[in-house]
Amino acid sequence: MILQQLQEKFPLEIIKTGEGYGNLFAFVKKERSHEFFTYLRDEPALKFEFLIDLFGVDRLKLNESPRFEVVYQLYSLTHNHRLRVHIKVPEEELVISSVVDLWKAADWSERECWEMFGIRFEGHPNLKHLLLFEGFEGHPLRKDYPINKRQKIPIPGEIV
């Protein structure tokens, strides 16, 4: 039902839909993703007002292209239904539009996703390090981040 409705509304954006692990999923092109998410949140029949999670995936070891993917796990409190949205992000253009203006919950998740994978979220109000320290080099959850790479130990700042 949900998938059908989405396919009719965004015939060009949706690459693939289906059901996996007890969840409906949709692979969507990233170009008009913000419009797509706005529709998911506001359309009365869908009403996905709850963003459960947002995270990145690196498919380097699977030799897949495009390499990166951002996954959104959505839930509707009104209709009690769920949807997983996958958006592929190519390595050459690591940017995707932010959904903080739609769901506040996306704020920290996007910051984490940015520092761990290097995927930039366009329109994020405060895209800086969340878990790692300022000046951390590289993106540690990428599959090609060297496992024994050590950072320079940060020195304490001035006493205020």
Binding site: L132, Y145, Q151, P154, I155, P156, I159
Partner: protein
């Protein structure tokens, strides 16, 4: 009671250094720097069953300026590093450091991008206590090792950690 009555006329010979060391050794003021599970073992160590006060070290301070024994218990990551270093710097001399548990001593099993592989990369450590987590007896043993070290230092010996 005057000093004379206390020793009943007997004569005691000692050295100032020894007396100072005796005092230091039996009145350590620890500051726990507990970031993870090892900290729970320290709570056990201070509580009545194991009772660190038997060694004169029950006065746990949460201000580094009032402490002379820093006990680091738990995983120290890169983000924590400047904080730990600053706290160590704020302690007055003489000061000692116990690195309690596998994480503080070597990074433990957190051999990854975010964890310091042993706090000795940051600050000097006097005693390492092994264990994940070390039992309270082991932490007490660490405190006793510090006491031995204090006495030995007063006698001019250098003790290996």
């Amino acid at each position: 009671m005057s000093m004379k009555d206390l020793f009943a006329g007997a004569v005691i010979t000692t050295r100032v250094k020894e007396v100072v060391a005796w005092g230091r050794k039996n009145s350590l003021w620890p500051m726990p720097y507990a970031t993870a599970c090892c900290g729970i073992e320290f709570m056990g160590t201070v509580s009545s069953y194991f009772d660190i006060s038997r060694f004169g070290a029950e006065l746990v301070r949460f201000s580094p300026r009032q402490a002379d024994l820093l006990i680091v218990l738990g995983t120290i990551n890169y983000k924590q590093a400047p904080i730990l270093k600053r706290i160590y710097e704020q302690m007055c001399e003489p000061k000692w450091v116990i690195s309690a548990g596998a994480c503080a001593s070597s990074g433990g099993f957190y051999d990854n991008y975010s964890v310091i592989q042993g706090i000795d990369e940051l600050i000097p450590v006097d005693v390492y206590v092994p264990g994940c987590p070390p039992r309270p007896e082991a932490i007490l043993n660490g405190v006793m090792k510090i006491q031995e070290k204090i006495v030995a230092e007063a006698r001019g010996k250098v003790v290996a950690a």
